[in-house]
Structures are given as structure tokens and as C-alpha cells.
């Protein structure tokens, strides 16, 4: 390196404004910090809107309540999907990307103005889509399958939002490049950053697929293109729709590792295994969109099998690996922290009163048991016919994207508030119960929707009594019971969500400013950022607790898998 570049680098780096975090020793760039705050706040706003809509939807689907009229139900359901699945999650993910790059690597965020442009596009896009949905005539669900057509601005809003998110990814990549060039860290990037990198790479693929399908659809809604083939649309749309879920998984798994590290001093059992597991997500995601097309006409069985198993099971393998390494690293750390008695002392004495830990661990367990297992079953070529488009499907993905991703993001928020907003969390008692309330509520809606779907209840459906239908049909009493219980647990989940929003808003506005020497209500690991456990079999304690947990998981998985084959074998014959 020439003297000139060294000077140049030094000058540019000095132009950024850093502070040193008193808890982790990380250097935090002011521009990155403000952008993380802005994205996190936007995320929470859209969670509030979307969550409220979710409650209205669930109350309408509760047969005894049947809250909204049909047109409002379909409108609000469209808004719910867009606000929570796209806007809440992706705003939060952009915050995660900036955190995992700039903050964890002690680096400045290059071109913050550009990052703000991305943010502005996302906000404008999200508002446009919301406005047009609320105006009616665009109740097409967030999947917007043609030939059903929304108003042009519905697609335009989504396109602007996606462009903004793409800018966020570009800033993330640039930060990694600059951090390497300016040597702000030693050796390889941390595991959490690696996970975020996985998410960002998948995001680029996702947004490209989104552009390929949404731009023509927008032109079609403007009357500039004659026709969109509905089957082709689905193939490409799900290349976006599915891979975006893989972004969520990468992001929330990164948060699991981060929470383990910051709260317990946990170190990955082996960097190699955990990183390979992330890498599997990138390699094997592309055509996993096939599992959304298993009940479509005209696609061959071999295409479906290859793309659901070869592609998908290797991505599933990635998640199953994290399912061992995350609790395993926590067990190893806890045993070093002094909780070494028996099989489960490490887990019993874990900081369950800290909402960051409680949220993270519930997310881990429920993502695996509810979202993961049901996802594999749903994605099996033949089994899909049992539940395609029934309310089992939303049941499954509330297990992934609500009990998994959303709960993990909530847990991460309890670290972002003190470390990035530098505010002490207000109402700690409420914060403590929040992950449990939300977790139990979300698990309930997932399970009861799955139950109702197994009994045949349709998704996106206003009236399961079919009272206005010419030819009547009666669902079983069990189906009605399931939908009622779904409503009850929706109230719990909504309450947990409301408390989350309340604590975040309260903390951001009124939380005590954190000054030097302050002791956090929910403390980080005492090591001040140092790892307690070590690499390699020779140095790590045995992990009996994790082995038991994983064994239980595996048995449930296998049993549930075969139960569904048994259901299938009892159906009418078709070929």
C-alpha cells in the first residue's frame, strides 16, 4: 500500500463520527447508528399497522365474532400480508444489515446519503401501497396472482420499496468492502456478519426475481401489456416469495447467534459448521419455490421432486444444523458460566427474565417445532395436496415468520434499544412478559390454523358457514372450534405485540439516557464481549442437554411426517 492511500484512508475514516460502546467496546459510526434507528422505527410502525390488521382478520375468522364485512376482510387481509411480511420484516432486516456490517466491524457506513435515499424509497413505496390498498379495488392479497388485477400503484409501491431495499443491500456490501480495505477488523468477518451476508446475497436474488415479475405486472395493470400467464407468474413470483423467506431465516438465525454471544458469551461450536450451514441457504434456495407449486397443473413430478428435495432439503439441512449449534453453543457457554449440574441446569438457570434471551430461545424452539416441521411436510410433493391453500398454510408460516422471525427480531430489539438508541428500557416488568405473551399467542394461532387446515378450512376465506352460497356445505364442529381458539390466541398475540410497540416507543421517547457507568436493567454477559467457551471437541464440555432437545425434535419430526402419509393414504385415489 502506498503512503498516499494510507493517508487517504486515514482522512476518510476520520471524517466519520465514531463513539465507543461502553458495553461491547465496539466503535459505532454515528451515521450508521441513525440509519439503524430510522429503519427500526419504521419497522415497528408497520408492525403496529399490520399487527392490528392481523387481529381484525383473526377476529373475522372467529365464527362467533365474524367482525368485518366481506369486502373489508379481504382488504384488511391484503394489508396485513403486505405490512407485516414485507414492510415490518424488511425494514428491520435493513437495520440488521447495517448493524452487522458497520457496527460489528467497527466501520463507517459509506455513502450514508445514498442509504437515506434507499430508506426514503422504502417509506414512500410502503405508504403508496398502503394508501392504494385502503382505497379498495386492490384487495388482491399480497401475492397478487393474475388475472386478478390491482390498481397500478399497488405494484408501483412494491417496486419502489424493493429498489430502496436493494440500495440498502448495496450499502451493506460496500461497508464490508471498506471494512476490509481499511482493516477495521482482524481476520475473517464474524459469524453474525456472515449470516447477514447470506441474507443480503439472497436478497439481491430475491429482488431481481421480484423486478422480473412485478414490473411487467405493473405495465399490465397500466394496460401496456396484454396478458400475464398465471402459471408463469407464479413460478417467478415464488422465486421471490420463497427466497425472501430464506432472507428472514438467515437474518433471524444471525440474531440467535448474536443474542447467545452478547448475553451468555456463547461461541459457535465450530465456525466451519455454522458457516457452511449458512452457505447451504445460498446454494440451495433457488428453485425451492417449487414447493409453492405442488398442486399446479402441468408441472412434472420429477421437476417438483428435484426442486423440493435436492434444493429444499439441503436448505432444511442448514436450518437443522443451526438447530443444534445454536442451543449447543449456549449450553457450552452456560456450562462454562458455572451452570454445569445435570443435563438441564444450563437451561433452567438461563436468563429467562431477560426478554432478549426469552424471545430468542422461544423463537428457536418454535421455529423448529412448529414452522420447520410443518414446512417440510407441506413441501412434500404428494402431501401438499392434503393442505394446499387451506388455512394450514398460514398456520405453517406464522410458525416460521411470526414465532421464528418476528419473535427473534423482537428479542434483538431489546439489545438495540440500550446499545444503539442508548436508552434504558422503560417498564421492564412489561418487557419481561412480552416475549411469553407474544410467543404463546403466535404459537397458538399457528397450531390452531394448522389444525383447522387439516380439517379442510380454506385460507383467505370470509365465511366458513357458506351461508350465502347456493350449494351449502358444513364444516365439522372441530373446524369451528379450531377457528375460535385461533381467535382467542390472536388476542394474546396482539396483546404481546402491543406491549412490544409500547415498550419500544416508550423507551425511544422517554427511556433514561444511558451514560458512562450505567448498569443495564437487562445486563449483557459480564465478560464484556469475551467468549467463555472454546473451539473444538477437546476444549468444549459435553452437551447432553442439547442432544436431548435435538433428539426430541427429531422424533417429533419423523412421527408427524409419517402421520401425514397415513392421512394421505386414506384419501380417494388419484393419479
Amino acid at each position: 500500500m502506498t503512503a498516499e492511500t494510507v493517508v487517504g484512508v486515514g482522512r476518510r475514516a476520520a471524517a466519520a463520527d465514531f463513539r465507543t460502546c461502553p458495553y461491547t467496546g465496539l466503535k459505532v459510526d454515528a451515521a450508521a447508528q441513525t440509519l439503524i434507528k430510522a429503519n427500526a422505527v419504521a419497522a415497528v410502525v408497520f408492525l403496529l399497522i399490520g399487527g392490528l390488521m392481523g387481529l381484525l382478520v383473526a377476529l373475522t375468522r372467529w365464527p362467533a365474532v365474524h367482525l368485518l364485512p366481506a369486502d373489508w376482510f379481504y382488504l384488511v387481509l391484503t394489508g396485513h400480508g403486505a405490512n407485516v411480511l414485507l414492510f415490518w420484516i424488511i425494514f428491520f432486516e435493513i437495520a440488521v444489515l447495517y448493524f452487522a456490517s458497520a457496527v460489528l466491524l467497527n466501520c463507517r457506513l459509506p455513502a450514508p446519503k445514498f442509504a437515506w435515499l434507499g430508506f426514503a424509497l422504502m417509506v414512500v413505496g410502503a405508504i403508496i401501497t398502503n394508501v392504494v390498498v385502503l382505497q379498495g379495488e386492490s384487495s388482491v392479497m399480497f401475492t397478487s396472482y393474475p388475472p386478478m388485477m390491482a390498481k397500478p400503484n399497488f405494484y408501483l409501491g412494491l417496486i419502489l420499496f424493493a429498489v430502496g431495499a436493494l440500495i440498502g443491500c448495496a450499502i451493506f456490501f460496500a461497508t464490508l468492502a471498506i471494512a476490509k480495505q481499511e482493516r477495521t477488523y482482524e481476520g475473517s468477518i464474524p459469524l453474525v456478519t456472515f449470516g447477514a451476508l447470506t441474507a443480503a446475497i439472497i436478497a439481491v436474488f430475491t429482488i431481481a426475481s421480484g423486478a422480473i415479475i412485478l414490473i411487467p405486472t405493473w405495465l399490465w395493470s397500466l394496460g401496456l401489456i396484454g396478458e400475464i400467464d398465471p402459471l408463469m407468474y407464479k413460478v417467478v413470483w415464488w422465486a421471490m416469495g420463497h427466497s425472501s423467506q430464506q432472507i428472514n431465516v438467515s437474518a433471524h438465525v444471525s440474531i440467535w447467534y448474536m443474542v447467545g454471544a452478547l448475553l451468555l458469551g456463547a461461541k459457535p461450536l465450530s465456525e466451519k459448521v455454522s458457516r457452511t450451514a449458512f452457505f447451504l441457504y445460498i446454494l440451495f434456495l433457488q428453485l425451492a419455490s417449487a414447493h409453492h407449486l405442488l398442486a399446479e397443473p402441468g408441472l412434472t413430478a420429477s421437476w417438483k421432486i428435484v426442486n423440493t428435495s435436492y434444493m429444499m432439503y439441503l436448505a432444511v439441512l442448514g436450518s437443522m444444523i443451526h438447530g443444534l449449534t445454536v442451543p449447543g453453543s449456549i449450553e457450552a457457554a452456560q456450562r462454562k458460566n458455572g451452570y454445569d449440574k445435570g443435563v438441564f441446569e444450563w437451561l433452567r438457570k438461563a436468563p429467562w427474565g431477560n426478554p432478549a434471551f426469552a424471545g430468542m430461545f422461544l423463537s428457536l424452539v418454535m421455529f423448529g417445532f412448529i414452522g420447520g416441521i410443518s414446512g417440510v411436510v407441506l413441501g412434500t410433493e404428494q402431501l401438499n395436496v392434503l393442505m394446499h391453500n387451506t388455512i394450514y398454510v398460514p398456520g405453517h408460516f406464522h410458525g416460521t415468520v411470526v414465532t421464528g422471525t418476528t419473535l427473534a427480531f423482537m428479542a434483538g430489539t431489546y439489545l438495540v434499544l440500550p446499545l444503539i438508541f442508548q436508552r434504558e428500557i422503560v417498564w421492564p416488568k412489561l418487557a419481561k412478559i412480552q416475549p411469553y405473551l407474544f410467543g404463546i399467542g403466535a404459537a397458538g394461532i399457528s397450531l390452531f390454523m394448522m389444525g383447522a387446515g387439516t380439517l379442510g378450512v380454506a385460507r383467505r376465506h370470509w365465511d366458513i358457514t357458506f351461508s350465502d352460497a347456493e350449494l351449502s356445505f358444513a364444516h365439522s364442529a372441530g373446524a369451528f372450534l379450531m377457528m375460535g381458539l385461533n381467535g382467542v390466541f390472536a388476542i394474546l398475540a396482539a396483546l404481546g405485540g402491543a406491549i412490544y410497540v409500547l415498550v419500544v416507543v416508550g423507551t425511544v421517547l422517554f427511556g433514561k439516557k444511558i451514560t458512562a457507568g450505567h448498569k443495564l436493567t437487562f445486563p449483557l454477559h459480564a465478560g464484556g464481549g469475551a467468549a467463555v467457551s472454546q473451539y473444538g471437541s477437546h476444549a468444549t464440555t459435553k452437551l447432553p442437554g442439547t442432544i436431548v432437545l435435538v433428539a426430541i425434535f427429531f422424533v417429533c419430526f419423523v412421527l408427524y411426517y409419517f402421520i401425514n402419509w397415513k392421512y394421505l393414504s386414506e384419501l380417494w385415489l388419484f393419479r
Binding site: S309, L317, F557, S569, W572
Partner: protein, 191 residues
């Protein structure tokens, strides 16, 4: 730690934990098994979705279904024809805003070649309470060989959102117990 660079620069040379390796192998084998089982079900299972499908203009499909219904209508129910096709024949179902048309009367244990398509938007063919769910596209005629294994009255619900009347979109299939005498008669008639 997961938030700091790996302690060993060359992290890909690290040893792997025994528990990790065991789990990776088990999970991988389980994935392989599930892969194999999907293939196996094509040979051992009675429920595999047909891939037979044709491109067809919606208006042409509509005409085909109407002709089919005219030929085999046995009675009417709430203005909808009830169609009783001969066992083993080609039968047609039409999805449109907002009904499944016509009503069918089938015989238990007989196989039918069921054609399904839509003439407007996408719909979801959901046979209840049996719980067989198949996506229906306009422009694609999907042919499935279906054998009812139980007798009774079955509902067809739509489970793909198709606009404001989505929840009123229903249809019906009756399945009758096989009548030995009658099917023998049919054979004698050479039908």
C-alpha cells in the same frame, strides 16, 4: 464469539465437534430418505397428482363442459344440473365466479378422468371433507384420474381467493354405492 472474528483465522481448518458431525449425518440421511420416499410413493402410493395438462382457451373449455353436462344430466338442483356420467368416462368440472359447475354423481370404486379448469380467475378445487386440494388455472385443462373410495355427499369449496364472492363459491359431488346390477346392465348395453 459470534459477533467477533473467528479466533482462528483459518476457520475452515477447525476440527468439528463429534455431536455436530453426528447430527449433520443424521439430518442428511433423513433428507435423503424423504427424497426417496417421494419417489417411492409414485410406485407404492395411490395418491399422486397427475401432470397431464393442456393449454385451452377458456371459451372452448366452457363449451366442452356444457356439452358434457347436456349429455348426462339426470336432474336439477337449485338450477344447477346434476350430471351422472358413465363409469370410467371423461368428466368435466368448471370453476368460475362463483361456482363449481355442474354437480356430479359418481359411483364408488369407479375411476373417472376428471378435467378441471377455470374460465376466469384462478380457483382452488378443495374437495371436502376428504381434503383434496388442487390449484385451478384459466387456460390450463388439468386431467386427473380420480377414484372415489367412499360414498356420500361431498362439497367442493374454493380455496384460492377469487374476489368478493370467493366464500360463496361451492360445488357438490355425490358418490353412490356401486350398483352391481346396473353396472352389469351397462356392460350389456355396450356403453
Amino acid at each position: 464469539m459470534a459477533v467477533t472474528p473467528p479466533a482462528q483465522r483459518i476457520w475452515w481448518n477447525e476440527p468439528i465437534e463429534r455431536v455436530e458431525l453426528t447430527w449433520v449425518i443424521i439430518a442428511f440421511l433423513w433428507g435423503l430418505f424423504m427424497f426417496g420416499f417421494m419417489i417411492a410413493w409414485h410406485f407404492i402410493g395411490g395418491q399422486n397428482l397427475s401432470r397431464e395438462a393442456y393449454r385451452i382457451a377458456p371459451s372452448k373449455y366452457e363449451a366442452k363442459v356444457e356439452e358434457f353436462a347436456k349429455k348426462h344430466t339426470v336432474r336439477e338442483e337449485k338450477g344447477v344440473p346434476v350430471v351422472k356420467p358413465p363409469a370410467g368416462s371423461d368428466i368435466y368440472i368448471l370453476g368460475r365466479l362463483w361456482q363449481w359447475w355442474p354437480i356430479l354423481e359418481l359411483e364408488k370404486g369407479q375411476s373417472y378422468r376428471v378435467h378441471i379448469s377455470s374460465i376466469d380467475w384462478q380457483h382452488g378445487f378443495s374437495l371436502q371433507p376428504t381434503n383434496i386440494n388442487i390449484q385451478v388455472h384459466p387456460g390450463y385443462e388439468h386431467v386427473i384420474t380420480l377414484t372415489p373410495t367412499e360414498a356420500g355427499e361431498f362439497g367442493i369449496v374454493c380455496n384460492e381467493f377469487c374476489g368478493i364472492g370467493h366464500h360463496t363459491m361451492t360445488g357438490k359431488i355425490y358418490v353412490t354405492e356401486p350398483k352391481r346390477a346396473e353396472s352389469g346392465q351397462r356392460l350389456a348395453d355396450g356403453r
